[in-house]
């Protein structure tokens, strides 16, 4: 017997590529793993404990808000895992674990769940979490440990297991015992306050003091390139951020080479690389129009350099991206492309109406 031929009527699109939120997010997690692994190799047990704690607290917070709102679990879309990993990579490796939990909870609760979950957030959740702990614990978040300490796989940094709500102990003694002559300042801080420049070789080998995932510039670019080639990420954003930061730095260096560092130092130092590749590109918080993406990226690059050169803080990537996020809807609005076939005059009229 012949089955009745089925005629399906439905709206476009009729051909789909098979990309889903879950798939894209899973690949972002994959791209973050090498960076996390490098960070653990660099900073040892403390970094590993911090990475795991932050990621777990983000996932647990996501689950908690799923339950409270009575919605099905959204853990399988991997977005909370990404937030956790990115947040952990922006924190100092020996960040006390209880503060790491606060950061993870804040990023998901304040940065994402309160806005309505994935896709509805205005600001990058990981950076919301980091901005909160930066404002809450300004000392702990600028306490650094040396990279490649010989004892990094045998003992934790003394700050890691600080009892909840207690002040972390002073890390100076321990760090000096681990690595002789350790100064405890990031390359950006050393440039700003001591006028000492780190060499590109220091950055490329990761032998600098920094947040857990900031130093592996080549690895970050490789992972970013993978995402860009698979079209899981808009390559224009990192290119625009890095190019505008380099250009701004170049202009400043032309004006006064004795005072301002070279563009390469600006690109490699601090969180600019990981910020440009993994944080500014967050789909929910970046513009969607082709021109808007360039404006957004350029803005982040310029603001980063401005904060570094003229601000009270040594690093400005986080606030630059948050400002970019906040402006993204406005950028989208003013860069709406003309509808195909519409004349310039008509488009202008439509805008006014």
């Amino acid at each position: 017997m012949n089955p009745t031929p089925r005629i399906e009527l439905r709206a476009s699109p009729h051909v789909v590529r098979g990309n889903s939120v879950e798939r894209i997010m899973f690949h972002v997690v994959l791209a973050l793993l090498p960076i996390a692994a490098f960070s653990v190799w660099q900073y040892g047990l403390s970094a590993l404990a911090m990475l795991v704690t932050v990621t777990l607290s983000c996932v647990a917070t996501e689950r908690l808000f799923n339950r409270l709102s009575g919605n099905p679990s959204t853990l399988t879309d991997w977005s909370a895992t990404i937030t956790g990993l990115i947040l952990a990579l922006t924190l100092p490796p020996a960040f006390p674990l209880w503060m790491a939990v606060v950061a993870g909870f804040t990023s998901i609760a304040l940065g994402k769940a309160l806005f309505g979950g994935i896709g509805c957030n205005v600001l990058n959740p990981a950076l919301v979490g980091r901005a909160f702990v930066q404002a809450a614990f300004p000392v702990a978040i600028t306490t650094w440990v040396p990279a490649f300490a010989p004892n990094r796989f045998s003992e934790f940094a003394p700050t890691t297991f600080t009892p909840p709500f207690m002040t972390p102990p002073d890390i100076g003694e321990w760090a000096k015992r681990a690595v002789d002559g350790f100064t405890g300042a990031t390359p950006l801080a050393r440039w700003k306050f001591e006028n000492v420049l780190a060499t590109p070789a220091d950055f490329l080998t990761g032998a600098v003091t920094a947040s857990a995932g900031e130093t592996s510039a080549i690895l970050i670019l490789l992972c970013g390139a993978y995402l860009a080639i698979r079209k899981f990420m808009d390559w224009r954003i990192p290119v625009a951020v890095l190019a505008s930061a380099a250009l701004t730095a170049y202009v400043f260096q032309l004006v006064d080479p004795s005072r301002y560092p070279d563009p390469l130092f600006v690109l490699l130092s601090g969180g600019l690389m990981i910020g440009a590749v993994f944080m500014a590109t967050d789909m929910a918080t970046s513009p969607v129009t082709p021109r808007g993406v360039w404006i957004y990226g350029a803005l982040i690059g310029v603001v980063t350099v401005m904060i570094r050169y003229f601000g009270g803080l040594t690093e400005g990537v986080m606030y630059a991206i948050l400002i970019g996020n906040a402006l993204a809807p406005l950028i989208d609005q003013v860069t709406q492309p003309r509808v195909f076939g519409q004349t310039r005059e008509k488009a202008a009229m439509g805008k006014k109406a």
Partner: protein
């Protein structure tokens, strides 16, 4: 009294401001002092009591004079009455504790423009007899004090590890610096509003047949 509205008993009138019409959590009025002085529990409670004093005094006077004050100049008259009590409370705090006076700063004088007080004078005291006005003002003042304490308590505990200046966690406590900064005020206020709205929505969800009460979101 708005026609058609049920006459409240004296007790209900008193409790109105404490819970159902709480100035901080339900009406969201007087946010400027709420966010600015709720850095510690002591400041918060002092501010709440000072505001309550001005509120009770001025609503009593406004209510007494409600049939004498010409409609056209009523706002100016209320402000003069309120300013009188603010001057009294200003000197009073200065006499009682100079530390609290310095901590609260200009916000004591700014009670005069606190919209809870002018709002109560205009919306309640000018239409009700003195006893009811004072009961309502007492409730509103208590509600405001409780609201300020809720903010100030949380901010002092997290921001300094203390409550009313007494250390709760010992000397090793890590202060959350952000909590004593202005953003901390917004975070804690947001969290309390969230809690209140959540409790209210649970109540309305539990009894869907009952018609929703008029929420006075101002």
């Amino acid at each position: 009294m708005i026609p058609g509205q049920k006459q409240l008993s004296n007790l209900e009138e008193l409790l109105e401001g404490v819970w159902k019409q709480n100035p901080v959590f339900v009406m969201v009025l007087g946010m400027c002092p709420t966010l600015a002085v709720s850095v510690s529990a002591m400041n918060a409670v002092s501010m709440g009591l000072a505001t309550t004093f001005v509120l009770v005094g001025s609503t009593f006077l406004v209510s007494l004079l409600r049939n004498v004050i010409p409609k056209e100049v009523r706002i100016a008259t209320y402000i003069v009455i309120i300013a009188t009590f603010v001057t009294v409370v200003d000197y009073l705090i200065q006499a009682i504790s100079l530390a609290v006076y310095d901590a609260l700063g200009a916000f004591i004088q700014l009670i005069v423009v606190n919209c809870i007080i002018l709002g109560r004078a205009e919306a309640h005291a000018s239409k009700n007899p003195p006893l009811r006005s004072v009961l309502n003002a007492l409730g509103m003042g208590a509600g405001f004090t409780v609201g300020l304490f809720a903010l100030g308590g949380v901010r002092e505990i997290l921001g300094a590890g203390k409550l009313f200046g007494f250390s709760l966690f010992g000397p090793d406590f890590q202060p959350w610096v952000v909590m004593v900064l202005p953003p901390g005020g917004f975070f804690v206020l947001g969290a309390w509003l969230l809690l209140f709205n959540w409790l209210n929505s649970r109540k309305t969800d539990a009894a869907p047949a009952k018609p929703a009460e008029g929420h006075a979101h101002v």
